[in-house]
Symmetry: C2
Subunit: 431 residues, 2 copies
């Protein structure tokens, strides 16, 4: 953990270093991934079978290729009632929030008599990748699948590895709740290849989303353009902007809630109170003593954590914009004033009673968010990631006569005479 004060002489240099610090590990798996994708394109299910045997250590012909609807329903029914209710609350609130993202079609006729507009439609099929093992989060399945369902996607396919043949009942329960149409027990780059190109058993989809390891991320990058994908994700991060009136324990817990994900995650506190900064730092150390995930969280905090003391919280806003963090908490009495000034963040959590964790599960907004300063240009996952827009135009002879001459002039200037002719013939201009 580093501590900076804007008043320090070397602040600019040290803050630049914080912004530019690369937490993304550049594992070069491009060639391995290309080989796997090629094998799945060439050999289909046989390749999926072989990679699963080798990498996940089970035989799909013995364990079964699919987890059927009955298995998912049984997993859901078998959850503790409290957990089942929590998942149901999460699903309902995520659905309600995303329903407000459904785009409206537009259509209008302008003064020239041109009818024009745009129409939205869902993609036919979407594939959701759900990691196996430690990072197998049912919440992530909901956050990916529900926007696709709200978009109106007709075929929703889940792929998830079951290492050593072990099935995660929480993931199955979430697949049931999200009404996934198919759940396949495949993972890694081979699963992404199957979704993008199709195999004998798995029909190809149009959009692939969901988190994964370096192989999965690289496979998504390589099939981008064959299918649509969500943004490539890097390590997670949180910025907490807090004044001295906060409980240091609350803020310390928020910083640790990011740190416990992974040793590459980053937690940064901005405060206008140097003494409060010290109390939060002490609270982090104290909470690590009892935190079951301390082994991970301590490394993340020590390696990537930071506390920045600023003259006023408003002074922090341009600095937060430089970081363009995935999550930002604004823990003060007038968070809206800070939020109005902020430009770049994936998701904002306003006020003292809005810990980031509430947004990970049940609040409603998506928790799949741009990381690694990508909030400068990218948005969280949403309904339109599973839709596409078709623009349309309709002219009658009069409208074409009005717009035709300009079109002919531009087409000629660009050296495209057939373009000009297709207009000239219709409005009887000799051309």
């Amino acid at each position: 953990m580093i501590r900076l004060e804007t008043a320090d002489g070397d602040f600019a240099t040290r803050f630049d270093a914080l912004v530019d610090a690369r937490r993304e590990t550049a594992v070069d798996v491009a060639c391995d991934v290309a080989t796997i994708i090629r094998a799945v394109r060439d050999d289909g299910d046989a390749a999926l079978h072989a990679f699963t045997q080798k990498l996940d250590r089970h035989d799909l012909n013995d364990t079964g290729w699919r987890l059927d609807a009955a298995a998912c329903a049984a997993a859901f029914a078998g959850l503790e009632p409290e957990l089942r209710a929590a998942l149901e609350l999460a699903a309902a609130r995520i659905r309600t929030y995303h329903e407000k993202q459904r785009p409206e079609d537009t259509a209008f006729t302008d003064a020239a008599g041109v009818r024009l507009g745009a129409r939205w439609r869902a993609v036919d099929a979407a594939g959701i990748y759900v990691p196996g093992g430690r990072a197998a989060y049912p919440s992530t399945l909901l956050m990916n699948a529900i926007p696709a369902r709200v978009a109106g996607v007709e075929r929703l396919v889940v792929v998830t590895p079951t290492p050593d043949g072990v099935v995660n009942p929480l993931v199955l329960a979430a697949a049931h709740l999200a009404q996934a149409d198919e759940v396949w027990r495949v993972g890694g780059a081979q699963a992404i290849a199957a979704l993008a190109y199709g195999t004998e058993r798995i029909a190809r989809v149009d959009v692939v989303t969901g988190p994964g390891n370096a192989w999965v991320a690289e496979a998504k990058r390589q099939v981008y353009g064959v299918v649509g994908i969500d943004m490539v994700a890097g390590p997670s991060e949180i910025v907490v902007v807090a004044d001295g009136a906060n409980d240091p324990d609350w803020i310390a817990a928020d910083l640790l809630s990011q740190a416990e994900h992974d040793t590459t995650t980053q937690s940064i506190l901005f405060t206008d109170d140097g003494e409060f900064a010290t109390r939060v730092a002490d609270a982090v150390m104290a909470q690590l003593e009892t935190l079951p995930t301390a082994a991970v969280a301590r490394v993340a905090w020590e390696d990537n954590g930071a506390i920045v003391v600023v003259p006023t919280l408003m002074d922090a806003m341009p600095l937060v914009d430089r970081l363009a963090p995935e999550h930002v908490e604004l823990a003060c009495d007038d968070p809206q004033a800070l939020f109005d000034r902020l430009r770049h963040a994936g998701s904002a959590f306003l006020g003292r009673h809005t810990p980031e964790a509430i947004g990970d599960y049940v609040a409603g907004p998506n928790h799949v968010l741009p990381t690694g300063r990508r909030a400068r240009f990218a948005s969280g996952l949403g309904v339109t990631d599973f839709m596409k827009r078709t623009s349309f135009l309709q002219l009658d002879e009069s409208a074409l006569s009005e717009l035709g001459p300009a079109t002919i002039a531009l087409a000629e200037a660009e050296g495209l005479p057939a373009h000009a002719r297709s207009v000239a013939l219709r409005i009887r201009i000799n051309h």
Copy 2:
């Protein structure tokens, strides 16, 4: 050109082949491009200078690095009045259409007392690539730059190569009209690298759009994630759905307007009238005799063109969906009925008086559209490509008490105890 009839015994196989035909040339430039990007990251302007000297054959220190606002204004003033008016009409109509794409912010408070919503902001800076030489289209500059301006992008940067030091006045005029803030005389992968990473002279941007050759496309793919990019584009295509009541010459001109772009483009006619099909094919051959771009258009038509005879135009719709074309014309009396049934197309042109060319220039909708069957999942370029969404949440103590227990249950189930603690501390649950 191939001619198919749905009644043919081998129709399914031959149509599959048409759908799967790969017109995208897989030039393997990934390594060359990676080397260029690395050089620009390491050496900045010195690398730009060297690549421009070698590839564009002029010395930036002699010709100047930038084309300033005065040069762009002079180019615009120097246009023939008819052309200047045409560009102005195009710019105004493109602006009006795209203004309707500006997304609305949302904010609401739900029954649990949670305030939540989403806010849109423009990216800070956008870079537009404009090819030099034969495909230097001022219309493309407008189609990329105006949505960025409508989004509210504060800094709009154009990069364009000037091979042999020769400037294209039409491109400069369009840059003036689009109010580009900077125009740099660099092109190729080196220009994309400069936009993504910045050099001493050129500050980095957040989003890079615009067409280019294989090097430019690969460079955009390699910097994807460092900046946002528009969809990777392949060869252009048109599908014309027309009944026998159309003038065969009009339809032939439409097919050729696509074919004249490039030998890899594709033009396909669907008709319910076999005799009309023959008359269109004859009209294409006749028009090629006098078309200045016949050398290109003839190859495209012969290599990639197709005519498909269907029982009714409605029967063509599922086949068009398989192709998911960039452009589709529906030339009949009731085009809306066909359009209602269609799912996948970048842009649709309805009725007998709406040639595709009208959409390339002055109608208003964007002409940067998904190609190569990507209309299954991708949309044309639009205002939100230059914006991003920040979701937000605000809970008070009561709302957190309502949603907190479910959050704690899910966080515990996912093995994330600091997440649970950050909530439990605030609602005074012993945890």
